[in-house]
């Protein structure tokens, strides 16, 4: 029997689409719900050269091996989560990777619906985030192109620094409502514009 699956956004009840503006005007913070993306969790030993070579062959490019870095390539972002853990988001080469890693000690798990991403950008984006996150957001460790597993308010987030004033905030589905509301509350004093999250 064919299964019918309906993708339901964990932010649907906020009716964000109805709030989307084309021109954010002078709002200090722009927020968006990113479209759902395929996600794959990869585990393996980054100290094992044969594993890293197979991982690279499966991806078609080198995975990030330095802490808190992201490699983006052709619609696929590979996040370093730990010395033996990565998260792939976007155009995930699942079968290619499974074939490449078949003879290596590894784990591949489809976690596509585990997290969603909230986009936060604008001239006061860093001020908004600084209210909720213990990291030094101005530090070189959080230059554009870097990521960090850290705290958002009382929950967990994977922070992706896209540009000086632009972030993607990956949170687990069940925290999506909490994360959005905390961010919007923090952003309120700077003015908030909800914008389109992209295709």
């Amino acid at each position: 029997m064919a299964e019918r699956r309906i993708r339901h956004s964990p932010l649907a009840h906020l009716h964000l689409a109805a709030r989307v503006v084309v021109d954010p005007g002078d709002a200090g913070a722009r927020m968006s719900e990113r479209p759902p993306r395929a996600q794959l969790a990869v585990r393996g030993d980054s100290g094992d050269k044969a594993f890293v070579a197979a991982f690279k062959a499966g991806l078609g490019f080198s995975p990030p091996l330095a802490a808190n870095t992201v490699v983006t390539h052709d619609g696929l972002a590979v996040f370093w989560l730990g010395p033996s853990e990565w998260l792939l988001v976007g155009e995930v080469p699942g079968e290619q990777l499974a074939a490449a890693l078949a003879d290596r000690h590894h784990a591949l798990v489809d976690v596509s619906d585990s997290r969603i991403a909230i986009g936060l950008s604008g001239p006061r984006a860093r001020d908004v985030l600084a209210k909720l996150c213990p990291l030094d957001l101005a530090a070189p460790a959080l230059a554009p192109g870097r990521c960090a597993g850290t705290i958002l308010a009382r929950g967990h987030m994977l922070l992706h620094v896209l540009a000086e004033d632009s972030y993607d905030i990956h949170v687990h589905r069940s925290f999506a409502d909490y994360a959005w509301r905390m961010l919007e509350d923090a952003a309120l004093e700077y003015g908030v514009a909800v914008i389109d999250g992209g295709g």
């Binding site: 010395p83 853990e85 990291l135 960090a148 597993g149």
Partner: protein, 91 residues
Amino acid sequence: MLLIDCPWCGPRDEVEFSCGGEAHIVRPPEPANLSDAEWGDYVFMRQNRKGVHYERWCHGHGCGRWFNVARDTVSHQVLAVYAMGEAPPEV
């Protein structure tokens, strides 16, 4: 608030970590052969030192890795960070 130097992620705020208690406690190889007192000693008894304390921490909100920390329980100063399985450093 502690600033803990994660061996992988660098200095991060204490709230990102969880403490796993005293380090270097070895599980007895044959628990069935122990007396209740010996098993109780392994499970419950800790040094609770004033001064240098060797303890385990996990960077749960970051890289998810466990490692050891030498911390002064009076000043809360983190004196050393070292890998799991490594002998405690002189501090």
